[in-house]
Symmetry: C2
Subunit: 146 residues, 2 copies
DNA sequence: TAATTTTACTACTTAATCGATAGTAAAAAT
DNA sequence: ATTTTTACTATCGATTAAGTAGTAAAATTA
């Protein structure tokens, strides 16, 4: 196949991987809510259709933003976890939240206050906290497992 | 009309406005290359179709990320300029560049080095510089004009 | 152990959006 | 006066998304 990238621009390249309507929301659910299963993603507020969710998870796995595996004591559930490459999307997600909070509340007034996420004045500490939190979740999910 | 937003999540809300395949690339061209006209956007590396460009510019204008106007001495060219709301997207664009540079170069090796953009170790200064640069461009375009 | 429920999908149909190209009208340049 | 430029619109086929139903295997419950 031809290159999947439109150009050599890093912004365009990033958008070719995560610039669709759903990918960043799935990654958001993983990073900020610890969601791990198909069912959990299906239940999120925006209502993604199963076919699209399925395609997106496959795409994200192919591009190594997430992994898919089963836990030893459950052969039914697939567990989706972020890779480091995926965890490093946290700053992008955070900047989207900040911009939205400041500029789109007029259009979407039901948006929850940004203070519920954490202390924005410490941006990099907040991002690092979310990332370390997620790394701990991975350990809990995979590490201490009979 | 019903709300144009899928949910009250700030991330989803941001993506409902700028989460398509092209908007951020148009905004990139404005912010980092000073592009201002339909023709200039048409000529960019990724090759956006005129119908889509037209629709996107209309959408971005409706959502007040850009303005559209004619200069007194040229009744033909439309001049598109970022609003403050649009200029404030700079941090998101910067984080996309940083993530892409670090994580997607393996897949798209032709990507230019990030050092060409500026000194990343001074992230917020770099962003502020780009933004102030753009504000100066607006002044040059509109202010000192016979 | 058998029946029910849960999970992770696939399949299908319809609707919306995208993409490529051609064409047009008005302004500007020659 | 003619040509070129600019900013589009129109059209049509291709791709993607949305919504719903259905299925197979695993897990749970009776």
């Amino acid at each position: 196949m031809r290159s999947k990238f439109r150009s050599t621009c890093p912004i365009a390249t990033a958008l070719d991987i995560i610039g669709d309507k759903w990918s960043l929301l799935i990654l958001r659910d993983m990073l900020t809510s610890g969601k791990k299963t198909f069912k959990e993603f299906s239940e999120s507020q925006e209502g993604i259709a199963p076919g699209i969710l399925s395609a997106r998870l496959k795409w994200l796995e192919e591009n190594e933003l997430i992994t898919k595996q089963k836990l030893p004591h459950n052969q039914k559930e697939n567990i989706y976890l972020l890779t480091e490459k995926g965890i490093e999307l946290a700053p992008i997600i955070m900047e989207l939240i900040i911009w939205s909070d400041k500029n789109l509340r007029v259009q979407n007034p039901e948006m929850p206050s940004i203070s519920q996420i954490g202390d924005i004045s410490n941006k990099s500490a907040l991002i690092a906290g979310i990332q370390n939190n997620y790394r701990r979740l991975i350990q809990e999910t995979l590490g201490i497992n009979p």
